[in-house]
Amino acid sequence: MADFDVGAVLASMSAAAAGVLQKKWPGVRSFAETEFQKIAQTIVTIGQGVAAGTITWDQAPILLDSQKNASLAVLAAVQGMSDVAAEQAVNAAIGAVKTAINTFVGFPLVV
């Protein structure tokens, strides 16, 4: 059975997610990398199961697809959580100038 480099797979998954999320990546990195690590470990289990005969050739692609689906869910959550962080940043920025804007226009424009 060929070796499966979990570290390399994890690094590839993290790099792909970081490339998409760019500046938002640091805020969600911990969650994403923990989940990617678990998925990579499960892929190892599938390979070991096929080698040991506890997973059949017919079952292996289905089980691998399940891990791919799980990866897509992790990425979606990571994207969603980074959107939440960005939304909070924008609202904090607006909040920081609230008094100045309301004073300038003379009524509570920003509430």
Binding site: S66, D83, E87, L109
Partner: protein
């Protein structure tokens, strides 16, 4: 400035936290986990797909309810993607059990399926927690 004028208050481009969806996801996870644990301890023929149609019917209904709630939510792109992953894994569990025919799924196969589901539930719940934390705190009641 235009953004502020048009909104008048905080911007919102993420979904609102939905406690019902949160509860239903947890309930579905509990049902699924109970089913997988049961499967690990059953012998043929009670472990077969045909003998467990009631689980698939009930769980399929729970998934449909979650799907409806998410579809009705604004800014639902990520929630839809997570639920799509959950639906696919549920369908794949069904396929694995159907393909097994009169045999039981062994513990290795069940464990790998369980791991995939767990990643999806963790993703959904982490996102729901982020949405919950993002909600503005409720205004304290005032005395009259």
């Amino acid at each position: 400035m235009l953004l502020v004028v048009s909104a008048g208050c905080a911007v919102k481009w993420t979904p609102y936290y939905d406690p019902t969806l949160d509860n239903k996801a947890t309930s579905f996870q509990q049902d699924l986990e109970a089913y997988l644990t049961k499967l690990e301890n059953l012998q043929a023929p009670v472990c077969t797909y045909q003998q467990n149609l009631d689980f698939y019917e009930k769980a399929g209904g729970e998934l449909a309810v979650m799907q409806t709630r998410v579809q009705a939510s604004p800014h639902n792109t990520q929630l839809l993607e997570i639920l799509a992953a959950l639906n696919k894994n549920f369908a794949e569990l069904k396929t694995l059990q159907q393909n097994a025919g009169s045999s039981c799924l062994n513990s290795t196969v069940i464990e790998v399926e369980r791991a995939g589901f767990q990643r999806i539930f963790e993703s959904l719940l982490a996102y729901e927690l982020a949405l919950k934390a993002n909600e503005a705190p409720a205004t304290a009641p005032t005395k009259h």
